[in-house]
């Protein structure tokens, strides 16, 4: 049974096994490889996308649940929060190896859309599920604060 969803504004129809994780569809079917596979069990946040504007770990999201949903990946992120985060990220060179960063950015943008001027606690609770093996956490927090000033 074909499943229809929207990815980055484009209508997509996929007939993969309905239990296939959304992440597989994004990366293998659509070749949008900015979203990363990390742990496969919602423990690291590398696969974070937005579904109908909310953060979602795509590795534990069967595509059958995405019928009619609007999915945004790192490639399709736009808006004033996204621009501010991009500027802040490059401004202080947040990434080190960079593998987790698309997930970090997706969570950061979602946070700023909901909480325009986040406290340290807001940032910590929002970003807790995005693990960075390079431990760039201090720069991530600073960049979110810098982005908040821009927004």
């Amino acid at each position: 049974m074909a499943i229809e969803l929207t990815v980055n504004g484009k209508s997509v129809k996929t007939d993969v096994d309905p239990d296939t994780p959304l992440l597989w569809v994004i990366r293998d079917e659509m070749k949008l490889t900015g979203t990363k596979f990390g742990c496969g069990m919602a423990q690291c946040g590398a696969c974070t996308v937005h579904v109908n504007g909310e953060t979602r770990r795509s590795c534990v999201t069967p595509v059958k649940f995405m019928e009619g949903s609007e999915v945004t990946t790192i490639e399709g992120l736009e808006g004033k929060e996204a621009s501010a985060v991009q500027k802040a990220w490059t401004g202080i060179d947040v990434p080190q190896c960079g593998y987790c960063q698309s997930g970090q950015v997706m969570s950061a943008v979602a946070l700023l859309k909901k909480v325009p001027n986040p406290s340290d606690e807001d940032i910590d609770t929002a970003m807790n599920g995005n693990i960075c093996r390079c431990a760039t956490y201090v720069r991530i927090r600073q960049a979110i604060k810098n982005a908040a000033k821009e927004v």
């Binding site: 596979f37 990390g38 742990c39 496969g40 423990q43 946040g45 953060t55 970003m127 093996r133």
Partner: protein, 217 residues
């Protein structure tokens, strides 16, 4: 607790401060091991308490039987008295750390629904599953149970200021029919179900109410 994940896509090791969102200990992905010993604990039927002739004592005994469910990790994990919750049959702190949030559905950009869907989802290529149900959320702070005695929890369950404004009749309906309560008997791979069945738990709740809803000493 820190474990090593095999970071296949990057062919690198990712040190992650977490175990699974759903179960206790995470083994390396390549050598998964059984994580749960199902106890198979059952619930006694209300009629089996008829030999207790004193009604108050019978009522208290019925609550003790209900507590096999209430005190089980499937229920207790999501009724913390502090900010975060626990997970797994060994009730370890939830990984990643999460907060209840103002609406009991998590924090902005880290909602329960960031990871938990409308049903249990098996991991792909490894053992275990992430639990899910719609809705999926933490019990409100005033309904926190962890660390309280059986009697304290019993008194709390009867207190409409601390039970979501439920009458005893509402409480029975909650125990017997609520979907999220019922998830406790359908918790997905890697988690031990609550003892008995939801119908049996509902029957015990009704019998407890019918005998005066007495709390154990």
């Amino acid at each position: 607790m820190r474990h090593l994940f095999i970071f296949t896509a990057a062919a690198a090791l990712l040190t992650a401060c977490g175990d699974t969102a759903s179960t206790g200990t995470l083994e390396t992905v390549s050598t998964p091991a059984p994580r749960v010993q199902v106890s198979g604990e059952t619930l006694a039927a209300p009629a089996s308490f008829n030999s207790i002739t004193n009604e108050s004592e019978r009522s208290a005994a019925l609550f003790d039987e209900m507590f096999k469910v209430i005190g089980h990790p499937r229920c207790m994990n999501c009724h913390p008295r502090e900010g975060s919750i626990t997970q797994g049959d060994d009730m370890t702190p939830h990984q990643p750390m999460i907060v209840r949030g103002e609406d009991t559905f998590g924090a902005p950009a880290m909602e329960c629904s960031t990871c938990h869907g409308s049903e249990n989802v098996s991991y792909v290529g490894m053992e275990g599953s992430i639990p899910g149900h719609a809705p999926w959320h933490v019990a409100p702070l005033e309904m926190g149970w962890q660390g309280l005695s059986v009697r304290e929890i019993c008194e709390q369950l009867k207190d409409e200021d601390r039970n979501g404004g439920r009458t005893l009749e509402d409480l029975h309906e909650h125990n017997a029919e609520d979907g999220l309560v019922g998830w406790g008997w359908n918790p997905g791979e890697g988690r031990e179900p609550a003892p008995g069945t939801q119908a049996e738990f509902g029957a015990l709740t009704q019998a407890w109410i019918d005998t005066g809803a007495v709390c154990p000493a």
